[in-house]
């Protein structure tokens, strides 16, 4: 859709808004990124006396086990994507397109594993699957008389297992709006022509949701590369490294070699750019429009006898992803310490009293987290909505550039982008360093790609004729935007808001580098407790944290009278 109208102010104002949003997003991303790139070619910190050099790159690519790190990283990226994406598609299809029993309730429950930080989930799984002390291993060895424990969480397969449960709901959140906004007439036509249920799903439904599936897959693929906590906890004890744990060798020493850490990040950033390039190539010249001016009524696909098989599959997923890890954490949160055994002697409520009453900083961190997460994620969504419109609905020059730029942060590990943000904003003429605003800026910068993908997916599926009809009937651009596009984008906007709210609530890497006394967030408090070795208190705070997010989601539904990724009713 081209923005052309006889009234000049109407032509300029929307474009002006979109361009402003695009420039703000570009500035937010490029400002720290350029510092990182500059830093990767410096012998010292930006601002300190030093010279330009390539030695950081030589140091990285001649460093110990770099080949193995890259290999392990690629294995992790490919395996987690290959497992989580199909699982997410199946779960979303079951809860949005089929007549599976309890699908509405299950749709909400399916995203719960995403509420816990992957690091905390990893801790929970070590309590279950550690070879010697894991509860499941001990149970199986005891009951089946095995000579060896069957599972070992301290391995690359253990890491894949934990990340699979973390990224599956991530995929669900990402694609559910696209599945719900889909016109079912094409599926029904296929069914009428004799196509089987699975053939229809495979040949019609999934291809129609390709933009969202591809976006989600690419984001997961790239995001896995930036994961630190889980590989560090589960792979490092046995000497297996990925790129992020290799980066630590350059940062967790004195003097720190930030240049080398930045150099590794350049590699990850290229992976990210390559991902978005592939996505654009795959989608180039194809139409994925499924929402047109023609009226339609979404209907569920009848599963017949498969209904209960589907329900069983979904419940098994929930048992493994929620009941086991959350249940373990809940149990440990009532123990004085975790010793691999549960006994009444160890029972205590003190972990909860410490979390809820023991420290004013924890209460302050909850308030700060809610403030940054609600306001920050909203700002992020407004910016990305406008940029996504500019990229997907106009033909202005440079829109591809904005698409690339706003995707770059996804490939950079949090701990490295945090350093770029610190370097950039500490010397900014806008005095935000040491305030709550730098935390908000950092979170928005880090999660711009998520807002962009969420809106781009939806916009690609919406045909332009609805807006065009409104314009022909005399509506202004704002009028058609408000009356046509906003209602259609609403499910995507709301699911995007919840997604970002959760991500903002959990964000640690950037907060850890940029927080300051008085503006700490929950993730920072959690990290400090982990540092203090208080695993039971960590479990208690994680449960409280998850409850806050669940309350947030429920409040969100009540306030907006909308499902998290609503649309089925439309």
């Amino acid at each position: 859709m081209e923005l052309q109208t006889t009234e000049r102010w109407e032509l300029n104002l929307p474009l002006l808004l979109m361009w402003t949003a695009a420039l703000v997003a570009t500035f937010l991303v490029l400002y720290p990124l350029l510092y990182l790139i500059y830093g990767s070619f410096r012998t010292s910190l930006p601002g300190d006396p030093g010279a330009l050099t390539l030695s950081n790159y030589f140091a990285v690519f001649s460093s110990h086990k770099i080949g193995e790190s890259i290999f392990n990283t690629l294995i992790l990226m490919a395996s987690v994507t290959a497992l989580a994406c199909p699982a997410g598609v199946v779960l979303v299809w079951l809860t949005t397109r089929s007549d599976m029993p309890f699908r509405r309730q299950l749709e909400i429950l399916n995203i719960f594993p995403f509420l816990l930080s992957p690091y905390v989930t990893g801790v929970a799984w070590t309590m279950l699957l550690s070879p010697r002390s894991g509860l499941i291993n001990k149970f199986l060895v005891g009951t089946l008389g095995l000579s060896q424990p069957p599972f070992d969480i301290f391995s690359i397969s253990g890491t894949i297992w934990v990340l699979f449960f973390y990224y599956t709901p991530y995929m669900c959140l990402f694609i559910s709006a696209a599945f719900k906004a889909m016109d079912p007439s094409m599926e029904e036509a296929a069914r009428t022509c004799g196509s089987s249920l699975f053939r229809t799903s495979w040949r019609v439904t999934v291809p129609l949701a390709t933009p969202a599936i591809l976006s989600g897959s690419i984001l997961i693929f790239v995001h896995v590369a930036g994961m630190f906590g889980v590989p560090a906890a589960l792979m490092q004890p046995k000497g297996d490294y990925v790129l992020t744990t290799t980066i630590v060798h350059f940062i967790q020493v004195y003097p720190q070699q930030y240049g080398s850490a930045a150099a590794i990040s350049m590699f990850l950033m290229m992976v990210s750019a390559l991902g978005i390039f592939i996505q654009r190539r795959v989608m180039a010249g194809k139409s994925y429009v499924t929402v047109t001016g023609k009226a339609y009524r979404p209907r569920s696909i009848k599963l017949g006898k498969w209904r209960y098989v589907a329900l069983g599959t979904n419940l098994l997923y929930l048992f493994l992803s929620i009941v086991l890890p959350y249940g373990t954490l809940l149990m440990v949160s009532f123990l004085r310490y975790w010793s691999g055994e549960v006994s009444a002697e160890l029972f205590t409520l003190s972990n909860y009293t410490e979390v809820l009453l023991g420290d004013e900083a924890i209460v302050r961190s909850i308030k700060n987290s809610l403030f940054v997460s609600i306001i920050g994620s909203f700002i992020c969504l407004v910016i990305t909505m406008l940029v996504a419109y500019l990229v997907n609905r106009t033909k202005v020059r440079g829109r591809g550039f904005f698409d690339y730029v706003t995707t770059l942060p996804v490939g950079i590990p949090g701990m490295v982008i945090a350093v770029g943000l610190l370097w950039a904003w500490i010397r900014s003429p806008i005095l935000v360093y040491g305030t709550i605003w730098i935390i908000m800026i950092a979170f928005i910068t880090r999660y711009v790609p998520y807002g962009m993908r969420a809106f781009s997916n939806t916009l690609v599926q919406l045909g332009p004729e609805l807006e065009e009809s409104a314009r022909i009937c005399g509506s202004s651009w704002f009028g058609s935007f408000r009356k046509i596009l906003i209602p259609l984008l609403k499910p995507g906007f709301l699911s995007g808001w919840i997604l970002l709210f959760i991500l903002f609530m959990r964000e640690l890497s950037t907060a850890l580098v940029l927080w300051y006394s008085g503006n700490e967030v929950i993730a920072v408090q959690l990290y400090q407790l982990v540092r203090d070795g208080e695993l039971s208190v960590v479990a208690a705070l994680s449960i409280v944290d998850a409850l806050i997010m669940i309350t947030g989601i429920i409040a969100f539904r009540l306030i907006f009278k909308e499902d998290i990724s609503a649309g089925l009713k439309r």
């Binding site: 002390s133 906890a233 000497g239 008085g518 982990v530």
Partner: protein, 346 residues
């Protein structure tokens, strides 16, 4: 006689007068610093101090002085990186830094980034080991012995008297420690044990399928769970926080070889925006009151002569110390870490 008496009285009077002037000037100086500190209103402290002690220090300090104590807690390397970034941007916000490392403070002292201040409290720290004190700049705020930690439900801790006692087949795949490449504590332990045994001890340890952690907290958790019941290097205070305070089944072992001890100083930065408040905080942190508080709340040892060790823990004077030259350790770090990586196949 009368003359002698008069002379004696005069001398006595002069001595009293000199003492009074001296005392008065000392008091005036502290009063002056305190007044200026009150006007500064706040002091910013970057520290690795664990939560419980950190919170108590803040509470007691703010009750005692009308000065706000702003605390930023993170890992040693995060704090060093943050300060250096602030310095490069010429926007230093921090007044005092306390990290669990000796190398960074020494480096900052050499580069002229520390403010010289001789706190009256430092007099109580006389007689500490060479290399722990640099007058006017560096005194140990915490003294941290590195000991082994054993899960008493899985392993007989009394049977381990020497580091060599761990190198037996029955302990295969039961031993863990910190990653020498990323943990300063693990590196200093490697440096110290290497002086005792060369690289032989670590080579034999590698043959026993030992595990290495990037974080001591995770290592402690897995020791307590019984996954890796022998943690061959850990902070001694972990024993106090688990065994003494929580009655958990862990026990520290200080072997007959002794142990490496790391003094961790609190330093005032030269660019401190609140230099007087920083001096007040320095006096406070090194006082007997705070040193006793640290012992009781988190089980760390003090360098003060008039403060005994944490309850139920060995006294510092009874611990045999393996001497470490911190400057030499830092100079050889890259080379020795590479050596360790080869031994441990990491």
């Amino acid at each position: 006689m009368k003359r002698t008496l008069c002379m004696s009285l005069a001398v006595l009077w002069c001595a009293v007068a000199v003492m009074a002037i001296g005392l008065d000037s000392g008091l005036a100086a502290s009063k002056d610093v305190l007044e200026k500190a009150k006007k500064e209103g706040a002091v910013v402290w970057y520290t690795t101090m664990p939560g419980k002690a950190r919170k108590e220090i803040k509470k007691v300090f703010e009750k005692k002085y009308p000065i706000k104590l702003e605390v930023f807690q993170a890992g040693s390397h995060d704090i060093a990186g943050r300060y250096l970034s602030e310095l490069a941007a010429k926007r230093v916000k921090v007044d005092c830094i306390h990290i669990t490392d000796m190398v960074f403070p020494l480096d900052m002292m050499d580069k002229g980034n520390l403010l010289k201040y001789e706190s009256p409290e430092f007099a109580a720290y006389a007689g500490l080991a060479k290399g722990w004190v640099y007058p006017g700049y560096i005194y140990p705020l915490r003294v941290l012995p590195i000991a082994s930690l054993v899960n008493t439900k899985k392993v007989d801790w009394k049977a381990i008297k020497s580091y060599k006692d761990m190198l037996v087949p029955k302990f295969k795949s039961l031993i863990a420690g910190g990653d020498v490449g990323t943990s300063t504590r693990a590196y200093l332990n490697y440096y110290g044990l290497r002086m005792k045994y060369g690289t032989g001890w670590y080579k034999k340890l590698a043959e026993l399928d030992s595990k290495y952690y990037e974080s001591s907290e995770k290592a402690m958790s897995n020791c307590l769970s019984g996954e890796w019941p022998i943690l061959f290097e850990a902070w001694l205070y972990t024993d106090y926080q688990t065994r003494v305070q929580k009655k958990a089944p862990l026990h520290s072992v200080i072997t007959q070889e002794g142990c490496v001890v790391m003094p961790t100083p609190n330093t005032i930065m030269k660019q401190a925006p609140h230099p007087n408040a920083a001096k007040v905080l320095q006096d406070f942190l090194y006082s007997k009151q705070v040193q006793e508080l640290l012992g009781k709340s988190i089980g760390v040892h003090s360098g003060r002569k008039d403060v005994s060790g944490p309850p139920e823990m060995p006294a510092l004077k009874d611990i045999k110390v393996i001497d470490v030259d911190f400057r030499d350790a830092q100079a050889k770090r890259k080379e020795l870490v590479a050596e360790w990586r080869k031994i441990a196949s990491r």
